[in-house]
């Protein structure tokens, strides 16, 4: 930082990501190396001032911590650490001669350094130039100094600032927009300090501020970079989230259309009348894919919202530390950025809510299609049950018919066996001998034989069907047959003896 009595007239801030250690080392060597070498050649103790980068040291959260400083008399170079960024501050001190010429020289010096850094492949996160107007100038001429500076900076819609020797009247575009904020006087040694930003050149790679303060050292070295770095982080993050949001909105709209069309087909049109389970299952798979996409998008939107909430909180705190708190003080910078990034956050929250609705729609559509599949399956099951019931009825009927036929066949078999056995017995025994046997005694064994044969046939068929001989009915029938035959033989012998 400048020695007491040296006045700061400008500062330039070069921000890098803290993790880009190599770029930071190269840029620091490029900027501060010559100053340190010059100092060490004139002063042996100066060699010790060459900074050793202490990149592992973490500053207090949200505060700017100066790690190293080196100067050559005209300029000071400081390396400072912030929350996510590192910053190299190049501070121009007032020399002898024309102040405007010194500003111009400083801006040229920075342009040259930037070109060299680009050639070295150094990746800068962002840059800010701040011109410092002393408080006494303001006190003497009102806002004349600020107006002069703004007139020179405002029309610079490109990276090139107009030469300070060129016509300021031509450059003082009436459309030039300024954001002015009153700073806390205690940070600048009292008075009415003010910071003015020129967002009209927002598209440029460099941001431009003008600081009007009696004692700007503290603001320039630590307080301003805390705010400026947050604005740069927010700008970068919001640009990324905006792109992400546009893609998400596009995806979400397309999914909403597809879900709507699918539900319409399912509920209203022909698909509802001619459902196909396989096709419906494909649709569930497609809806599940959409649901997955929406869930991922929703997660991204929530993360963006969370990040912006955190950064906006940090921005509010930084503004609170820097800006004046009097009721009549103005804070255009704070109002502008809080509104701008607050509305970005709100847009992300709207997208997040839309995504929730879309997810619910996709979930509902999955439910509708799944219900449809279940209904189709239930209908198919019912039809199958009905067919099975018909078949069972048919089988019962067939069984009943079979049983009637079986009984009829059994009766016919009985009658035939009875008749032929009776006739055959009489024929074998002879008519005269037969008359010695009473009619009842002739009928009983023949009837037993016929019944045994009929039943035996039935039981034998069952044994063959069941592939088992463990069938008591068949054995009883066999006994009946043998007993009847024995009866016939005994009665025949008895008749022969009586007739003999």
């Amino acid at each position: 930082m400048p020695e007491p009595g040296r006045q700061i007239i400008a500062a330039h801030y070069l921000y890098l990501l803290k993790e880009d250690g190599e770029s930071l080392r190269k840029l620091w060597t490029q900027l501060a190396g010559p100053a340190a070498a010059a100092r060490s050649s004139g002063d042996a103790a100066g060699a010790a001032a060459m900074p050793l980068l202490a990149l592992d040291e973490e500053p207090e959260p949200e505060r700017c911590a100066i790690m190293q400083c080196v100067g050559d008399g005209d300029m000071d170079f400081c390396l400072a650490m912030l929350r996510n960024l590192a910053v190299i501050e190049v501070v121009r001190l007032k020399g002898a001669g024309d102040g405007e010429q010194q500003w111009r020289d400083f801006l040229r010096f920075i342009d040259g350094q930037r070109r060299q850094a680009m050639a070295e492949g150094i990746s800068l996160f962002g840059e800010t130039t701040m011109l410092v107007a002393p408080q006494e100038t303001v006190d003497a001429d009102g806002d004349a100094a600020c107006d002069l500076i703004s007139a020179r900076l405002a029309p610079a819609s490109t990276l090139e600032l107009p030469g300070l020797g060129e016509s300021p009247e031509a450059a003082a575009a009436p459309a030039c927009r300024r954001l002015a904020s009153d700073l806390a006087p205690e940070l600048c040694g009292g008075g009415n300090p003010r910071l003015t930003q020129y967002p009209g050149i927002e598209n440029s790679a460099v941001d431009y501020f003008v600081l009007r303060a009696g004692a700007p050292e503290r603001i320039v070295s630590t307080v301003f970079p805390e705010l400026d770095s947050l604005l740069k982080e927010l700008r970068r993050a919001v640009a990324f989230f905006r792109e992400q949001r546009d893609t998400i909105v596009e995806e979400n709209t397309s999914i909403d259309k597809q879900v709507g069309a699918l539900l319409h087909r399912q509920v209203v049109t022909m698909d509802a009348a001619n459902p196909d389970t396989a096709e419906l299952e494909n649709r569930i798979a497609e809806l599940s894919r959409m649901f997955g996409l929406l869930t991922t998008d929703s997660l991204m939107a929530r993360q963006a919202d969370k990040r912006l909430e955190k950064d906006l909180g940090a921005l509010r705190r930084a503004l609170g530390r820097m800006m004046a708190r009097e009721p009549d003080s103005i804070d255009d910078i704070g109002d502008h950025y809080l509104e701008l990034y607050g509305s970005e956050r709100e847009a992300i929250r709207v997208v997040s809510r839309d995504l929730d609705h879309s997810r619910q729609s996709a979930e509902a559509a999955i439910g509708v299609v799944r219900t449809r599949i279940e209904l189709i399956r239930a209908e198919e099951g019912s039809q199958l049950q009905s067919r099975t019931r018909g078949l069972l009825d048919q089988m019962v009927k067939l069984q009943e018919e079979g049983m009637a036929l079986q009984v009829a066949a059994g009766l016919i078999e009985f009658v035939l066996i009875f008749y032929y056995v009776l006739i055959s017995w009489e024929h074998l025994l002879g008519i005269e001998q037969s008359e010695h046997i009473s009619a009842v005694m002739r009928i009983i064994p023949v009837m037993g034989l016929a019944a045994g044969a009929s039943l035996g046939t039935h039981f034998l068929a069952r044994s063959i069907k069941n592939k088992t001989w463990k069938n008591p009915g068949m054995w009883i029938s066999a006994v009946m047959i043998f007993a009847s035959l024995a009866g016939i033989v005994l009665l025949s012998l008895s008749a022969a003896r009586d007739g003999g």
Binding site: R236, A237, A239, K306
Partner: protein
Amino acid sequence: MDMIQLIEEAIEDERRAAEKYRMGAEIAEDPETRTFFEQLVSWEQGHERILRDRLAALKLLKDE
């Protein structure tokens, strides 16, 4: 390969391409060809800038 690594490689590719076209512009004999190569250099630098912006955003937000 993660996204950050991929973008870093893409940046390097853009740089190499721009360098090649710059050489083309230097050795071009007719103004049309030189302008053509200069235009290509400008495009490659534009791509590199876009990639660097995206890389910075990804690095800044990667811990979220």
